[in-house]
Assembly symmetry: C2
Homo-oligomer: 207 residues x 2
């Protein structure tokens, strides 16, 4: 039995060492897991014991990479506008550490998450005279997570309905996967719609 | 001479100690000043020797508190849309430390900055079928800075045109001051338009 124990030690120790480093720089999340160095609390994907992704927390303070209104290549799960108005605002956020990684390397790191949040287009506040601002946050939300074991694209989609605390991955045959695979500017991400990322595309004109 | 040296030491040392702490966690800004603890690089207002505000850097990664499109209570300096389309996207950002302070206290801290950035409303990218996403960043930009010595409102406005590296404060008789003083929901800030701040208003309905 002795030789087998010795083999296990080098594998197990680095995991605890990594967790320990995280604890020194910031408080551990509620579930006791610590973030890797350079990441704020809640900036890593967390899963339930049965494999669901926990709804990200604190994404409002992540980097908002692009807003849109009424885009009609609507993601599955996007709320349908209740009128023939301008549609909803779609805001897309990514973790600050993942944003920095992308600007440094031009590639999306493992565990990058994009959060797609929906806001109603509102006019109901003085002194707005015309145009639309972001009203109520819709209860549905989507996450696009880069993790190589999830799907052949290297990414998984998750849709959070209502106040669901966790979500199963959307099945890999859903149209979101093929659309993102075929029509995005870079690695399954609609970089062409995101002004703070777009300048990293190979054919960018320095916008 | 000995007694005088002893008096100076406790005053001078803490200043260097503070600068040293800042340097350990992040590089000092180009002008050699270190950020206070809890602030990232570029998250404090910096002035030229003749009192102009330097154009903020890195605001794209600050907290985006609210987007709008075509709002017609247009800020002075806002670019005029070139067509009768939906108008421009207005994105408003604040420093992460100032956002945290507001969520904790319900008040805006001294040195809070709001950056108002303008993006064209674009449809020119596959696979967008309808609606608008954020296109080119306009070269003009505005900043609303909370600093009590600037104006009786406690805030100053700055408009950055073209690629200006610094801007004089907009004169205190300009309509932006009176409009923000009279029509904002809280302390000269249009909190009513910002979904991630709005829930802090005293009459918020938990949106």
């Amino acid at each position: 039995m002795k030789p087998r124990s010795s083999l296990l030690v080098p594998i197990v120790l680095p995991i605890f060492a990594l967790a320990s480093v995280g604890c020194q720089s910031q408080p551990a999340p509620d579930d006791g897991e610590a973030e890797p160095p350079g990441r704020g609390e809640g900036e890593s994907p967390l899963f339930t014991t049965d494999g669901k992704l926990n709804r990200p927390q604190g994404w409002e303070a992540w980097v908002m990479v692009g807003a849109s209104i009424g885009l009609s290549y609507a993601e599955p799960g996007a709320p349908t506008p209740v009128s023939d108005g301008p549609g909803m605002f779609h805001n897309v956020y990514m973790q600050p550490w993942a944003y920095s990684h992308f600007l440094e390397t031009g590639e999306f790191a493992e565990e990058t998450m994009f959060v797609l949040a929906f806001y109603g287009a509102s006019q109901e506040a003085d002194p707005a005279q015309s145009g639309f601002f972001e009203g109520e946050l819709a209860p549905v939300m989507e996450v696009h997570l880069k993790q190589r074991d999830l799907h052949e694209s290297g990414w998984g989609f998750y849709g959070f309905s209502g106040d669901a605390a966790a979500a199963d991955m959307i099945v890999g045959t859903a149209p979101c996967y093929s659309c993102h695979s075929e029509r995005t500017a870079l690695d399954n991400v609609f970089v062409q719609f995101y002004p703070v990322l777009r300048h990293m595309l190979p054919d960018a004109e320095g916008d």
